[in-house]
């Protein structure tokens, strides 16, 4: 008989008797569930940070920061530089005819009281009406936009979930220690959701600043960056860096002190070794339980390897179920959870891509765990197989 046909027959036979072994196979499912939960938890946090950071940047916008600054916090653009910046070429025109560009302020502020009474900190951005035209992804989810010149504040949807005093009409202590009224909630699907937005002019005067942090520019087209860059960097009166907004946020992400994933992989690898132990035990007893069936198959001329393949596949099936359950647990437990990090609030994301990672790990673990019992079966002489019955 053709080996593939043998494998098919043994496979069908295994499936038909599978229900008798479900009880003894729970440990494979349980072990791989734990491995997947642990593996994906750290990956989902990282996935969340990547999506949050890279989501802010767009290729058709440029961000102007002061020369040498690494982050928005350290960047300072004096008010006197705004004129030449706004007159530069390559900037898209607003409907009113002026340049579609805006000087924005930023401050990392804490301690803020969280809903669980712990304290935390996050960014506060000054974004005016023009900023909203440049970044249309900032949508008001509830309430209304700020009236300019007032001490009003918009809370991002994640900031609202994490921090106390962020419901519509609440008054919250910010920046200069005064009270600011929450008039709306906004959502962007990016890192900004964990922050607050106020009027940039009001923020500047509240903090007694004469400088802005950044200038955000909507480019005529994504190729106009070079024109803008040439005009600004050759102007001796300015000391600024011009960058595509997407590159800037990529750089912010690269500079994050994120604990390396290697730790997560090491821990997951250790737990997977534990799962291998569970698979070994289970597959040995599976083989024991099917001794009669295997002996008959071998006697009527089936080879050893189809049986081995069936054993490995069975382990993989249960391991795969564990991976799916583990991913589902992480999804229910962590997905969209607003995590508080040292640099702000972001959503943890369990994406389909991560399900693939979990399945890959589970199948590899099952292969490693089942290979010893499978090869032992394959090498068994027909006489010995019969002898076990």
């Amino acid at each position: 008989m053709h080996p593939l046909r043998q494998i098919r027959i043994v496979g069908v036979l295994s499936l038909r008797t599978l229900h008798t072994r479900i009880r003894s196979s729970w440990v494979i499912v349980a072990a791989l569930t734990v491995v997947s939960v642990v593996l994906l938890s750290a990956l989902a946090v990282r996935e969340g940070i990547i999506l949050a950071y890279l989501g802010v940047g767009h290729a058709d916008r440029a961000i102007i920061t002061s020369m040498g600054s690494v982050r928005e916090v350290g960047s300072a653009i004096p008010g006197s530089s705004l004129g030449p910046i706004l007159d530069a070429p390559g900037i898209r025109k607003a409907p009113d005819g002026g340049p579609l560009a805006e000087a924005e302020t930023y401050e990392f502020y804490g301690p803020l009281t969280q809903r669980n009474q712990d304290t935390g900190a996050t960014g506060i951005r000054g974004i005016g009406p023009k900023g909203l035209q440049i970044s249309p992804e900032i949508r008001i989810a509830e309430g209304r936009y700020l009236r300019s010149g007032t001490r009003e504040v918009l809370a991002g949807v994640l900031a609202r979930q994490r921090f106390a005093g962020t419901e519509l009409g609440d008054r919250i202590t910010l920046l200069d220690g005064g009270q600011w009224t929450v008039v709306g909630h906004f959502s962007t699907g990016t890192f900004l959701d964990g922050e607050f937005i106020v009027d940039p002019q009001v923020m500047s005067s509240a903090l007694r600043r004469t400088t802005y942090n950044t200038v955000l520019v909507s480019l005529k087209s994504s190729e106009s960056l070079e024109d803008l860059k040439n005009a600004l960097t050759t102007n001796p009166a300015l000391s600024v860096t011009v960058e595509r907004q997407s590159d800037f946020w990529k750089r912010q992400f690269d500079n994050l002190p994120v604990a390396p994933l290697i730790l997560d992989y090491v821990v997951s690898l250790l737990l997977a070794a534990g799962a291998v132990s569970g698979i070994l035990h289970t597959m040995h007893s599976t083989v024991g339980a099917r001794a009669r069936e295997i002996a008959i198959l071998r006697t009527v001329g089936f080879g050893g390897y189809p049986v081995a393949v069936a054993i490995v596949c069975e382990a993989m099936l249960f391991a795969g179920i564990g991976a799916v359950i583990g991913t589902a647990i992480d999804w229910l437990w962590l997905n969209e959870y607003p995590m508080m990090a040292a640099y702000g609030v972001f959503r943890i994301r369990v994406t389909p891509h991560l399900l693939g990672v979990a399945l890959g790990w589970a199948l590899a673990t099952a292969l490693v765990g089942a290979i010893v019992p499978a090869v032992q079966e394959a090498r068994l002489e027909v006489v010995d197989a019969l002898g076990r019955v």
Partner: protein, 383 residues
């Protein structure tokens, strides 16, 4: 003793399975030790809090000066004031963020937990560009006494416009619980004299000691009230309140602890599974033991030892592995990753032993039930 030899023989009946099971127990406890060690280390921070200490910051950027110091020290309820400036920048690449605490006047009195001897304070006063670094800090950036440590600070410029500050390491001092990720400390005069004239006298914080630790918050409010309508208003927080903010590690720690628990549940499941198989395969043997007079209790105790032995040994090996990893961690982590080092203290070891015993008891529950119900005659009648 008889029991132990029997248990030992049983454990090695299937060596591959036993080794894998043992490995999974070891790894489960390695994870347990690292996670609880982190928790223990962060717990030390809140234990070391000085309840009388207040940090006073400028409410607006760059607006706190040494000139305000005498006013603070004369306030009612204030016993000591120190002035601190910090140079923040990066080492080699922007990812490696570093900060150096530049100790201004009065810091020695308000920061007695800084482990510098009188001699070292004198060295610091004598050497303007000198710094002392803690052990962790030294390992992270590869420093030792005599090393030069250049950092780039785009936000702190020298009078000549340069943003490179070069320090000379005078020595390595022990770490302190208040600063779990290490610290570097230098001389404020270096910063102050090298800056442009317009920046001189500017500091980042006052550290204030309240006379009465129960009135710390009142003193903090008093300082802020005093400067509220001046040109440089302040924002004061007690050390206790400030440490509750920092870290933001609360969420991450909660997730880590859940993972350690998940790992332990897996160890329990694997041990239970192994024991179930082992008892089932040996039912005839157990029946013989019963027949020759072993009581149910004795046999269950025997199985319990069989479960507890790998768990306890695995616990010790796992925790030792965790302690070893913790000791190597500062060297293994890249320079940009600043993490506290897990501390495997007696409480962590005790929790590990409890977890190991609990796992063994949980794993034995089902087989024990099986043994108690095992009918000697039926079991012996089986071929």
């Amino acid at each position: 003793m008889k029991h132990l030899r029997l248990v030992w023989a049983n454990l090695w009946r299937k060596p591959i399975r036993t080794l894998f099971l043992f490995a999974s127990v070891v790894f489960g406890f390695t994870l347990w030790g690292l996670v609880l060690g982190f928790k223990a280390d962060l717990g030390r921070v809140s234990e070391s809090v000085n309840a009388a200490r207040i940090y006073t910051y400028p409410r607006f950027a760059r607006a706190l000066t040494l000139a305000q110091m005498p006013q603070v020290s004369q306030m009612h309820g204030v016993s000591q004031v120190g002035a601190l400036a910090a140079i923040g920048g990066y080492f080699q690449v922007p990812k490696n963020r570093v900060a150096i605490l530049m100790q201004g006047p009065g810091m020695r009195e308000v920061f007695p937990d800084l482990p510098l001897t009188s001699q070292q304070w004198a060295m610091l006063a004598k050497t303007r560009t000198g710094i002392f670094v803690s052990r962790l800090y030294a390992i992270r950036y590869g420093l030792e006494a005599g090393s030069r440590f250049p950092i780039i600070c785009p936000e702190v410029l020298k009078a000549d416009g340069s943003d490179v500050w070069t320090f000379e390491v005078l020595g390595v001092v022990p770490d302190i619980p208040l600063m779990p990720v290490g610290f570097a400390t230098g001389n404020f005069d270096y910063l102050d004299q090298a800056r442009p004239e317009s920046e001189r006298g500017r500091i980042q914080q006052f550290w204030v000691l309240a006379r009465d630790a129960t009135r710390t918050d009142a003193v903090a409010r008093q300082i802020d009230g005093w400067f509220a309508s001046s040109g440089s208003p302040t924002r004061s927080l007690s050390e206790k309140a400030l440490l509750a903010t920092e870290g933001g590690g609360g969420d991450a720690l909660a997730v880590l602890i859940s993972l350690a628990l998940a790992g332990m549940i897996m160890v329990a499941a694997l041990t239970a599974n192994a024991l179930r198989h082992s008892v089932r395969e040996r039912s005839t043997e157990l029946a013989v033991m019963k027949a020759i007079g072993f009581s149910n209790l004795a046999i269950v105790a025997h199985v319990l030892i069989e479960a507890a032995l790998p768990c306890l040994v695995g616990c010790f090996v796992g925790l030792s592995l965790a302690a070893g990893l913790a000791a190597m961690m500062p060297r293994l982590l890249p320079t940009s990753v600043i993490l506290p080092v897990p501390m495997i203290d007696p409480a962590v070891v005790a929790s590990g032993i409890c977890a190991a015993l609990l796992v063994a008891v949980v794993a034995v529950a089902a087989p024990a039930w099986r043994i108690a119900r095992l009918d000697v005659a039926t079991a012996l009648a089986r071929p």
